[in-house]
Amino acid sequence: MHCHDPECKEACPVNAIKKFEEGPVLIDVNRCIGCKFCVDACPFDVPKFNPATGKVDKCHMCFDRVPNKEPACVQTCPTGALLFGERQTMIQKAMERKAQLNGYIYGDVDNKPLGGTSFIYVLKEKPSVYGLPNVGSTISPATSVLRHSKWLLIPAALGGLMYLASWRQRRIKEKEE
């Protein structure tokens, strides 16, 4: 979906996922360790573990074609259901189509899952009818917990040191007695 604030990027322990200004969210295959944290974190179920490589794959928006050609899916779609272009132009087109259909826009305008997605759907029915999840506009608390729980090491270290100090004190006292 190439979200504005990708949850997968936040969940990645090795910073292998990058968000580019132009839109794409890419996995750096050289950094990926196949831990699958992004697989579980993505509310859209996009990244998939590839047992053949031991790493995770996802759509890369044909970043190697894009400056010169459209993404392959856009080029090959037989019914022309996919359009590719500058975000504002796409949103404009989506709004026109929405008006024609008396439908819904998913990904921007009506709702902004994770800050808005680069894939924008124009739908005839409500998004849930198509199985599109109801995603909040910010990173979920679970992923924030995943990212920041390491800070618990600070109170843990302090607690351990305090334990050590009190134990030493007790030993010194015992020796004195």
Binding site: A11, C12, P13, V14, N15, A16, N30, R31, C32, I33, G34, C35, K36, F37, V39, D40, A41, P43, D45, K48, F49, P51, G54, K55, S140, A142, T143, V145, L146, S149, K150, L152, L153, P155, A156, A157, G159, G160, Y163, W167
Partner: protein, 187 residues
């Protein structure tokens, strides 16, 4: 040498101190050794992935798949054997402290969530009909639970004398015991 041997305290339950918890802890079996070894590997490799990931990047692939993943599977087998041993052995039940039991609860959750992380989007989980659907709501939380529980366990086990503190205390006792033993032998 005889005066070195301490008479065990009669008080029951024993006082809640490191020395009491570690006192009388003897290496009992190979399963016990394996349990500790694999657990330590999992703890260290897990922490390395989470803490050093941004620096070590892709070189952690083997650590994740072999040293945490395959060792994780071995640990699960050893853990089950260990629990069965404890359940069937009076001696083991005696050396276990209440906090060890809390440690076990942590490990069971770590094992369940660990397997769920490892099995993310793996088709084999659908061999059991309905299982994937049944666990999918918690799917989004499994990694968060797996990792944050590790830190919560570290925190709790350093604030109360359990897991890690018991480990440090045991190591300390063993090292000191060895040192004292050498001294007396030299004499």
């Amino acid at each position: 040498m005889t005066e070195d041997k301490e008479v065990p305290t009669k008080k029951y339950p024993p006082e809640f101190t490191i020395t009491n918890i570690t006192k009388g802890m003897v290496r009992t079996s190979r399963v016990d050794f394996l349990f500790h070894l694999l657990m330590a590997i999992l703890l260290i490799t897990g922490l390395v992935i989470d803490l050093l990931g941004p620096w070590l990047g892709g070189s952690l692939l083997v650590i994740r798949s072999v040293a945490h993943g395959y060792v994780g599977v071995l640990f699960i087998i050893v853990f089950i054997v260990y629990i069965l041993r404890i359940a069937s052995s009076k001696k083991m039940k005696m050396v276990l402290t209440q906090t060890n039991t809390v440690d076990f609860a942590f490990y069971i959750i770590l094992i369940v969530t660990g397997v769920m992380v490892a099995a993310a989007n793996a088709p084999w989980i659908d061999i059991l009909p309905g299982l994937a659907a049944a666990i999918s709501p918690i799917g989004a939380y499994t990694q968060a639970i797996h990792v944050s529980l590790t830190y919560i366990w570290v925190l709790i086990s350093l604030l109360t004398p359990s897991g890690l503190l018991h480990g440090f205390a045991c190591t300390y006792l063993i090292v000191h015991f060895r040192r004292n033993k050498n001294k007396s032998e030299k004499r």
